[in-house]
Amino acid sequence: MKLVTNLLGAAAVIGLSVSAASAMECDTIKLGAAISLTGKYATNGVNTKDGYEFAIQKIKDSGGVKVGDKCYNFEVTYYDDESKGDRGATLAERLINQDGMQYMLGPYSSGLTTAIAPVTEKYGIPMVEAEGASRSLFNKGYKYLFAVLSTSEQYLASAIALAAEKAKEQGKDPSEVTVAVAVENDPFSLDIRAGILEDAEKYGMKIVVDEKLPRDLSDMTSILTKVKLVKPDVLVVSGHSKGAATAVRQIAEQGVSVPLIAMTHCESADVVGNFGESAENILCSTQWDETLTYEDPIFGTASNYNTEVKSSFPAYADRAVPYQTAQASAAVYVFADAFQRAGSLDKDAVRDALAETDMMTFYGGVKFSEAGNNVAKPMVLRQIQNGEYKVVAPSDFAAAELVWPRP
């Protein structure tokens, strides 16, 4: 079924490209990408790829990338990294070495990015990545790695802040708040855990459950039993799509009641579609939300992006467009912008232009720190209210009041 929808999606893109190609004759800039089409990250691998493809099509429709006085269109060569790091590294090398790629787009997940970054770095190939958020990527001194997304320790940090706020409202000291953490044993989730631990420590909160989920997780009853026993005020779960799906299902099944439950990857696990009621009032971190007020000339507003992706890729028709797709599109857009500013196809000129990026996109502001991570965009926390994702934090963007405590 998945296969069919993917094919439909691909067909839609091809359909679009045929109509556009006749409009303008542009040269091609080739980008390389290793992406997870199979293996444990395949769901988000496909989301990422769709994001790349959509952005390429949009840029093409709007007249291509102007470098000097010539116009170019992007074209991506994909390989399947099977969600495996060593495979990803080999493929990155092949893309650069054998296929002669001068610019790379990132893979899905921090683990894969960690494996690929040393290769692109060694070859001096600029890589704009949209899906690797672990801070361990940005303490290696990489010069050619640029990430459009916020780093992972920020994902759920605002959940801790919210819990502290609520405790104060109740006339309690934030240090009385207890936190349970269950994260997958992979670079991304471990970094989320590190962020939570740091923030909890800041408020003097106590971590009462601290567990790592195995990668082939299908059952987390034993963790939830502990949660029921120690009754924490906050429960944090991070384990990509399958972690979110398993958690939402079993939290309902076991009747776990925690005032504040926060997790990642709600959208890509489609917890609302799959579990309905059970997902109510769960907090989900997101890099991007279609209700945000960001806007740019190519994609229009965030909500416009959302609508257009839905119409181009039937796979998203009846679920929220995951932020993974949005940030992948943003990565392509950032590349396009850097090419135009560099005014040349030289990879080092493009790298320097990337480093100076300071722009607004439908996905949010993009400005890179010295280490290559995006510092211009905050994370957003949404709560599922009546089957819809409503932004509740940070307060500048909040579209709804936080429902607390969760029944």
Partner: protein, 304 residues
């Protein structure tokens, strides 16, 4: 270390949790036992060590999932998965397994390993790598102080179905003509042939039956937990642990070992953290192997 002590403290402070862990363990153990029983069958009868066992389970789960997608009531998925996996098992037997029966032990291990890789990937291509589950929409009963023990109706029904299936298979093996032929072949295939039993037919039947049992187990699993194309190995490992511990041709042993391993895993997961669950299952396998080896050593034999 502190965490381990803390977890043990929890067990002592709330004795009811022990009951909860054991119930959970028995529920998951019942399904391990089903998969293990199928493995014990093909191992005992045709000396095939099926590493694709877990993938049959997952395939059964996807059969039930697809049936549910087209609107068939989930509980009906269990018997239907049994029938459909029977057919798939028969095809696999005729194309691959029949050619490895008479060969050495390593051959069946590797051939079924190749099969496992193929099955997992084909399922991935068809269904995608998302976790899937079927929701029965049944309530959960809560027992004990502050509802610490949760009994989802779906789990209870699932375990009941597993029990019915196990009993049906036992009765079938004891009393039907085919069941007797299977047991005769397991004891001595040459003698069975001499006595006029069509062993080829028996083999095909046994292997299909195994696939069907696994399929039904998978259909139950998709209602209770989640499935994903690459989860097969988890169930294969458990099936091997159980069969190695219980020995082949020892059905009560297989069931007891299945339930025991389910409970041991839940305990281990509670005490050491869920991250160690897979490691615990495998370490149990090693312990079982070495304990059996020690027993053999005493009579100056090795574990063959």
């Amino acid at each position: 270390m502190d965490e381990i002590l803390f977890n043990i403290r929890l067990l002592l402070d709330f004795p009811i949790v022990n009951l909860k862990i054991i119930i959970d363990g028995i529920m998951i153990g019942a399904l391990f036992a089903l998969a293990a029983y199928g493995l014990a069958l093909v191992w005992g009868v045709m000396n095939v060590k099926n590493l694709a066992q877990g993938d049959f389970v997952i395939a059964g789960g996807y059969v039930a999932y697809s049936l549910n997608q087209v609107g068939i009531y989930p509980l009906l998925g269990v018997p239907l998965a049994f029938v459909i996996m029977w057919g798939i098992g028969w095809v696999i037997y005729k194309t691959i397994i029949t050619r490895v029966i008479e060969r050495d032990l390593f051959t069946s291990l590797l051939a079924t390993f190749g099969l496992a890789i193929m099955m997992a990937q084909i399922m991935n291509l068809i269904f995608g790598s998302d976790t899937q589950s079927v929701d029965l929409g049944l309530p959960t009963w809560f027992l004990g102080p502050s509802g610490i023990i949760d009994l989802p109706a779906a789990k209870v029904i699932g375990v009941a179905m597993a029990t019915v299936l196990a009993i049906a298979v036992v009765i079938f093996m004891k009393h039907s003509r085919m069941g007797q032929a299977i047991r005769a072949t397991a004891q001595d295939s040459r003698a069975a042939r001499v006595m006029g039993i069509d062993t080829e037919k028996v083999y095909a039947f046994t292997f299909s039956l195994n696939a069907a049992i696994c399929g039904a187990a998978g259909a139950i699993i998709v209602m209770i937990w989640v499935i994903q194309p690459f989860y097969g190995i988890t169930y294969s490992v458990r099936a091997f642990v159980v069969v190695t511990a219980a020995g082949i041709g020892n059905l009560p042993g297989v069931i007891a070992a299945g339930l025991g391993i389910g409970a041991a895993e839940q305990y281990g997961g509670h005490i050491f953290g869920i991250g160690y669950q897979q490691a615990i299952a495998v370490v149990l396998l090693l312990i079982v192997l070495f304990v059996r080896l020690m027993q053999q050593r005493r009579i100056r034999q090795v574990l063959k």
